[in-house]
C-alpha cells in the first residue's frame, strides 16, 4: 500500500542520525520555550529561521521547526499548572483545574497526566494525519466566514462554562475580553478604535501580555497581599506521578480530547483554543462530579491538554496537503519551506515525498521523545514549587515583563502587563474566574471579522448562518444545548 511504503520511506529519512538529533533538539527547545512564559513557538521559530538557511536539507529544517512547535505545546501546560501562567491561548483552560491541583499538592499528578495525555493525543493525531490527511483537508476548507463565526460563538459559550458559579460574572468577562481585543486598528474598515491618540494602543494589546497579567501577575499580587511571610503555594509537593485512580478518571477524557482536538485543530485560525474549550465543557458535562471542576478535577487538565496537542498535530494537515498555513507558527514553517524551493500543497506528496513522509515519521518519533523528555522533567518541575516565594515571585515577574517587552520591543507592554495584573488581582478579590477574559480576547477577531465578512458576502442577510449546512448544524446544536441547560437548571432549582 502507498501509505505504508511512504511511511517506511519517511522513517528511513527521519531515522538518520542527523535528523534524530535535530528532532531531539527541536523537542528540547520547544519544551523550553513552552515552559518560559511569554515566548511562543512562533517567536522562537522566527528567531531560528535564519539558522535553518544553513541547513541544506529541507526535511531536516522542517523537522527542527515542527519539533519546536509541538514541543512547545507539551511545555505550555507546565507554567499553567505550577504558576497559573498560561504561555499561550490553548493552555488558559489548563490553568483553571491544573493550578488548583498544584495548590492542593497534586502538581505532579497534573503535570504527569498532561504529558501522558499529550503523548496519546499527539500519536493518535499523527496516525490520523497519516491515513486521512487529504479528505480531512477538504473538510477544513468548508469553513468559510459564516462557519468560523458560529464556531467561535460555540467557543465563547463554552468559555462561559469555565466561569463556575456566576453566569453573570462570566458574561461580563466575556464582553470585556471582546472589548479589549477591539482596541487598535479595525481590520475590516481600517479605522482606529479606542486608542485616544496613544500610538502604542493603535496596534492593540497582545494576548501574551493580557494572559500573563490577568493570570500570573494578578495571582502574585493577591498572594503578596495575603501573607506577611510569603511561604504559601510552596508548601506541599506531593506525589510526583498520577495514581491509578487519576488514570481511570482521565483515560476517557484523553480520548475525547484527542478526537475533539484532531477535528477542530484542522480549521485554520483559532482551532487549538476552541478545541481545548470544547473539551473542557464536554468533560464537565459528562462528568459524574461536575462540582469538582474549577476545584482541581484531573479531567479538566487531561481533556484540554490532549485536545490542544492533537490540534497542534492536525494543524499540519492544511499546510501539507493544501499549502494553507493555519496559524502564525505554521506560517513560519511555510515560509521556510518556500525559501528552500519546496511548495507545500497538493503536489508535495508527489513531488517531495521525502519531505512529506519524513515530517510525518519525525512526528511519531518526536512524540516518543517528548514523553521520555517530559516525564522525568515532571519531577524537576515540581521541585520548582520548593523555591521560596520571595525568589520565585520576582523571577516570574521578570520573565513575564521581558516576555511582554520582547513582543514589540516597547516598554509600553510592560505597563500594559502591570495594568492587566491589577485587573487580575481585582477580579480575584471579587471572586471572578478570569478564564473567559483571555479566551474571549483570542476569539474576538475571529468573531467580529467573520461576522462582518459574512454580512458582506450575504448582502446583509443573517440567514447565511442558518442556511449553510455546517453553520446551520452548529447553530442547531447550540440551540439544543442552551435549551437543555435552561431546562436542566430549572429542574434542579425545583428540586432544591
Amino acid at each position: 500500500m502507498d501509505i505504508f511504503d511512504g511511511l517506511i520511506g519517511g522513517f528511513s529519512v527521519a531515522l538518520t542520525p542527523t535528523n534524530i538529533l535535530v528532532a531531539f533538539l527541536g523537542c528540547l527547545l520547544g519544551t523550553a520555550v513552552g515552559v518560559l512564559p511569554g515566548l511562543g513557538p512562533a517567536a522562537t521559530i522566527a528567531m531560528l529561521l535564519p539558522t535553518t538557511y544553513v541547513i541544506d536539507s529541507p526535511v531536516t529544517a522542517i523537522i527542527l521547526m515542527a519539533g519546536i512547535y509541538y514541543g512547545s505545546m507539551y511545555g505550555g501546560s507546565t507554567t499553567s499548572i505550577l504558576l497559573n501562567l498560561p504561555g499561550e491561548a490553548a493552555s488558559v483552560v489548563t490553568c483553571i483545574d491544573g493550578y488548583k491541583m498544584a495548590q492542593k499538592g497534586r502538581a505532579g499528578a497534573a503535570l504527569g497526566i498532561a504529558a501522558i495525555g499529550s503523548f496519546i493525543a499527539g500519536t493518535v493525531a499523527v496516525v490520523g494525519l497519516t491515513f486521512f490527511a487529504p479528505p480531512i483537508a477538504e473538510f477544513a476548507l468548508k469553513f468559510g466566514p459564516p462557519e468560523k463565526f458560529t464556531l467561535a460563538l460555540v467557543g465563547l459559550l463554552m468559555a462561559v462554562t469555565l466561569s463556575g458559579s456566576s453566569i453573570i460574572k462570566g458574561m461580563i468577562l466575556l464582553v470585556l475580553g471582546l472589548l479589549i481585543a477591539s482596541v487598535g486598528l479595525d481590520p475590516v474598515s481600517g479605522k482606529t478604535r479606542f486608542s485616544f491618540g496613544v500610538t502604542e494602543l493603535q496596534s492593540g494589546f497582545d494576548f501574551v501580555t493580557l494572559a500573563m497579567g490577568v493570570f500570573g501577575l494578578g495571582e502574585i499580587f493577591y498572594n503578596l497581599e495575603k501573607t506577611l511571610k510569603t511561604e504559601i503555594v510552596t508548601t506541599k509537593v506531593g506525589q510526583v506521578f498520577p495514581n491509578i485512580q487519576d488514570w481511570v478518571r482521565s483515560r476517557m477524557a484523553i480520548l475525547r480530547g484527542t478526537a475533539v482536538g484532531f477535528f477542530i485543530g484542522i480549521i485554520p485560525g483559532g482551532g487549538a483554543v476552541i478545541s481545548s474549550l470544547v473539551s473542557y465543557a464536554m468533560e464537565k458535562k459528562v462528568s459524574k462530579r461536575p462540582e469538582e471542576f474549577g476545584q482541581g478535577a484531573i479531567e479538566g487538565v487531561a481533556g484540554p491538554e490532549s485536545a490542544n496537542n492533537a490540534a497542534s498535530s492536525s494543524s499540519f494537515i492544511p499546510l501539507l496537503t493544501l499549502g494553507i498555513p493555519g496559524n502564525a507558527a505554521i506560517a513560519m514553517i511555510f515560509a521556510a519551506l518556500l525559501i528552500k524551493g519546496i511548495t507545500p500543497g497538493p503536489f508535495l506528496i508527489k513531488e517531495n515525498p521525502d519531505v512529506f513522509w519524513g515530517v510525518i515519521a519525525s512526528m511519531y518519533l518526536g512524540n516518543v521523545m517528548l514523553l521520555v523528555l517530559n516525564l522525568p522533567l515532571v519531577g524537576i518541575w515540581v521541585q520548582l514549587l520548593r523555591v521560596p516565594y520571595r525568589i520565585l515571585a520576582p523571577v516570574v515577574i521578570l520573565f513575564t515583563a521581558i516576555g511582554s517587552y520582547s513582543i514589540a520591543n516597547q516598554a509600553f507592554d510592560i505597563y500594559a502587563l502591570l495594568g492587566f495584573g491589577v485587573l487580575g488581582y481585582l477580579l480575584k478579590k471579587l471572586n471572578f474566574e478570569p478564564g473567559p477574559l483571555p479566551l474571549a480576547f483570542v476569539l474576538s477577531p475571529m468573531i467580529e471579522t467573520s461576522l462582518r465578512q459574512s454580512l458582506l458576502i450575504s448582502g446583509g442577510s443573517f440567514s447565511i448562518f442558518v442556511t449553510r449546512p455546517i453553520s446551520g448544524t452548529l447553530i442547531a446544536l447550540l440551540t439544543v444545548l442552551i435549551i437543555g441547560q435552561v431546562l436542566f437548571s430549572l429542574r434542579k432549582r425545583r428540586k432544591s
Binding site: M47, S182, R193, E225, I414, L418, K429
Partner: protein, 170 residues
C-alpha cells in the same frame, strides 16, 4: 459564614463601574466609530453591541448583589476559595507588599530601555529582596547575583533575544 458588608459594597461599586464603562463604550461606538450599514457593518458595530451588553450585565449584577445579599447560595460561592476576599484582607490587615510590588515593576518598565537589560534586572531583584521582602543585605545580594546572572545567561546567551543595552550608555 456570615456575609460581610464591605464585600457587598465593593461588588456594588464594581457593578456601577461596569455600567459606566458600558455607557461610555455605547456612546463612543455610536458617535465616534459609527455603526455602518447592515450590509457593511462599520467599526462601531461590534463595540456598540458590546457596550449595550455591558450595560445590561452590569445592571443585573448590581440588582442581583443587592437582592441576594445574605442569601445562602452566594455566601457559599464565596466560601469555596476559603477566603472572603476583601473582608479577610481587612480583618487580617494586608501586608502592603502588593503595593510595593506594583511600584517596583513600574520602575522596571521605566528603567529597562534607559538603563539596559542587565542593570534593570539586577536592580529589580535587589530592590525586591530589600524592600518588598525586607531581607538582609547579604542574603539579598546573593539572591540577586544568582538570579540576575541566570537570567542573563538564559536571555542573552541561550535565547539571544534582542534586549535593550541601555540608552544612557551609548
Amino acid at each position: 459564614m456570615k456575609r460581610h458588608d464591605p464585600l457587598q459594597k465593593v461588588e456594588l461599586a464594581a457593578a456601577v463601574l461596569v455600567v459606566a464603562l458600558g455607557a461610555f463604550v455605547t456612546l463612543y461606538a455610536y458617535f465616534v466609530l459609527r455603526l455602518g450599514l447592515i450590509i457593511s457593518p462599520g467599526a462601531g458595530f461590534m463595540p456598540f453591541l458590546l457596550g449595550v451588553a455591558l450595560l445590561l450585565l452590569g445592571a443585573s449584577w448590581f440588582l442581583k448583589t443587592l437582592l441576594l445579599s445574605g442569601a445562602i447560595n452566594t455566601a457559599a460561592a464565596y466560601d469555596l476559595t476559603g477566603e472572603v476576599g476583601l473582608a479577610s484582607g481587612a480583618a487580617k490587615g494586608h501586608s502592603g507588599k502588593h503595593l510595593w510590588g506594583f511600584l517596583v515593576i513600574l520602575l522596571f518598565g521605566l528603567l529597562l530601555e534607559r538603563a539596559g537589560f542587565l542593570v534593570s534586572i539586577t536592580l529589580f531583584m535587589l530592590v525586591w529582596q530589600l524592600i518588598v521582602e525586607k531581607q538582609k543585605w547579604f542574603v539579598s545580594i546573593v539572591i540577586t547575583v544568582l538570579t540576575a546572572g541566570a537570567m542573563y545567561v538564559i536571555f542573552r546567551m541561550l535565547l539571544k533575544i534582542h534586549l535593550p543595552s541601555g540608552a544612557w550608555f551609548s
